[in-house]
């Protein structure tokens, strides 16, 4: 008996591991996730109620003596509980839940964010109604209270874009553009995750989501335009970055590095995490990732740079962290 109790308590502890406020459908910060949570609770209460009723009925039916019910009464019970009641309940639930699936309307002036899934990171481009797109990676910032349309694509294999606290998930399919329209209602720092198996590091493909007050967001987006600040060419890290050929894959706006193969690093120092939401942004982590990216993310496309000394890797890391 004591063992059973222990197992039950341990089981509940496992469930508690799911409790958090930064990546949970049950802790929404967006209007659509709020609707999903509402629907979930309505369905859960309804399902538990029906299951309880059926269990009670089964218990009664099994214990009832033969002949307790006439054939006519039995047939009527089957007609009502087996036909009419389930039909009406299901029809009601369908009619109740369908309006939740209506997509949010989007106006031409609304902010559009193109997100492209890559193995194993996110290419992000902000397209405001005016001005050139602003490129970023692995971090998405959105204004609170405004409608935002995500245009979702994939560069290699199928991925799925899921920010549980903001809205439902939507697949990213090569050769196709899916649109997900959302609205955040609460500011804060949250987390998203790739929700479709996409390769070795699928589980390590996360992203940071920052919901900001509209005025702060506008100022931030304006600050993202133009060349990278801190891209001073004559520091040791910048020279190493150029000499090692990092610009063959990465872009740092305002320098010779302009490739679009890998993540854009122009505002690298502003991000809170490294390697698509996996490691905290510290100089040592950046240096370690540069030398052995496979150790953090198996299957990653970035080649390793084991020939770099600790000091050299740290110099590049410091240079990258200075890009703001």
């Amino acid at each position: 008996m004591r063992g059973e109790k222990f197992i039950a308590i341990m089981g509940l502890c496992w469930l508690l591991a799911g409790c958090n406020r930064h990546q949970s459908t049950l802790a929404p910060f967006g209007a659509d996730a709020e609707a999903i949570r509402h629907l979930f609770i309505v369905m859960l209460v309804g399902a538990v109620g029906i299951a309880g009723f059926v269990a009670w009925l089964m218990r009664r039916a099994v214990r009832a003596p033969v002949g307790e019910m006439t054939h006519r009464k039995g047939m009527r019970l089957v007609l009502w509980l087996g036909g009419i009641v389930p039909t009406v309940v299901l029809l009601g639930l369908l009619a109740y839940s369908l309006p939740y699936m209506r997509p949010r309307p989007v106006a031409p002036a609304d902010l559009r964010i193109a997100v492209d899934g890559e193995q194993f990171w996110w290419r992000v481009a902000y397209r405001a109604a005016d001005g050139a797109p602003v490129l970023s990676a692995n971090e998405i910032r959105i204004p609170v209270g405004r409608t935002v349309a995500f245009r979702l694509t994939a560069g290699d294999v199928v991925h799925s874009f899921w920010i549980p606290g903001l809205a439902g998930k939507m697949d990213m399919i090569p050769g196709r553009t899916n649109t997900l329209v959302v609205r955040a209602d609460r500011s804060g720092r949250y987390r998203g995750q790739c929700a479709e198996f996409c390769g070795l590091s699928h589980a390590l493909m996360a992203l940071d989501v920052v919901a900001m007050e509209p005025a702060a967001f506008d100022a931030w987006l304006e600050g993202q335009r133009g060349p990278a600040r801190g891209a001073v060419a004559d520091v040791a890290g910048a020279r190493l970055f150029a000499a090692q050929g990092c610009g063959g894959c990465h872009a740092v706006r305002g320098t010779a590095a302009a490739s679009r193969i890998g993540p854009d690093l122009s505002r690298f120092g502003q991000r809170a995490t490294l390697a698509a939401g996996i490691l905290p942004m510290t100089t040592a982590n950046v240096a370690g990732f540069i030398r052995h990216p496979q150790a953090t993310k198996p299957g990653v496309r970035m080649p390793a740079f084991p020939q770099l000394s600790d000091a050299e890797a740290m110099a590049i890391a410091r240079y990258l962290e200075g890009l703001k």
Binding site: H71, L91, L94, L98, M101, R102, P103, T179
Partner: protein, 125 residues
């Protein structure tokens, strides 16, 4: 109406009548997809009120209802109380008629369940 019901009573329910309701359900299901695809391709957005689709749905429901009505009439053939599981003509008729009636009920609800999302979602994306 009474005369009409009498005529329905005179009809013999066969396996062919049995498959009418589920077939209508299947055709309506296909029609829903075709209507959505053609409508989105031709107009570019969801029709504000899908008239053609509503008419098609009503026709499907009426056909299922008629099949159910005939089956109901047939299943009321007088005789001994259930169960009707003998190998006689009258029991076979009752079985087919009752099965058709149940299938009509199922198909009617299924057509409604298919039509509701089409009428309420309204999105071509």
């Amino acid at each position: 109406m009474r005369g009409w019901l009498k005529r329905a009573h005179g009809l013999r329910v066969t396996l062919w009548t049995l498959i009418v309701p589920p077939s209508v359900w299947a055709v309506h299901f296909l029609f829903s997809y075709l209507w959505a695809a053609v409508s989105c391709a031709k107009i570019g957005r969801w029709a504000r009120f899908p008239t053609v689709f509503a008419i098609g749905t009503v026709i499907a429901l009426v056909v299922i209802l008629l099949a159910g009505l005939i089956a109901w009439q047939q299943s009321r053939t007088p005789g001994d109380p259930p169960p009707h599981n003998e190998g006689t003509d009258i029991d076979r008729l009752r079985f087919l008629a009752f099965s058709t009636l149940l299938l009509s009920g199922l198909s009617f609800v299924a057509v409604l369940f298919t039509a509701l999302p089409v009428l309420m979602l309204g999105d071509c994306r």
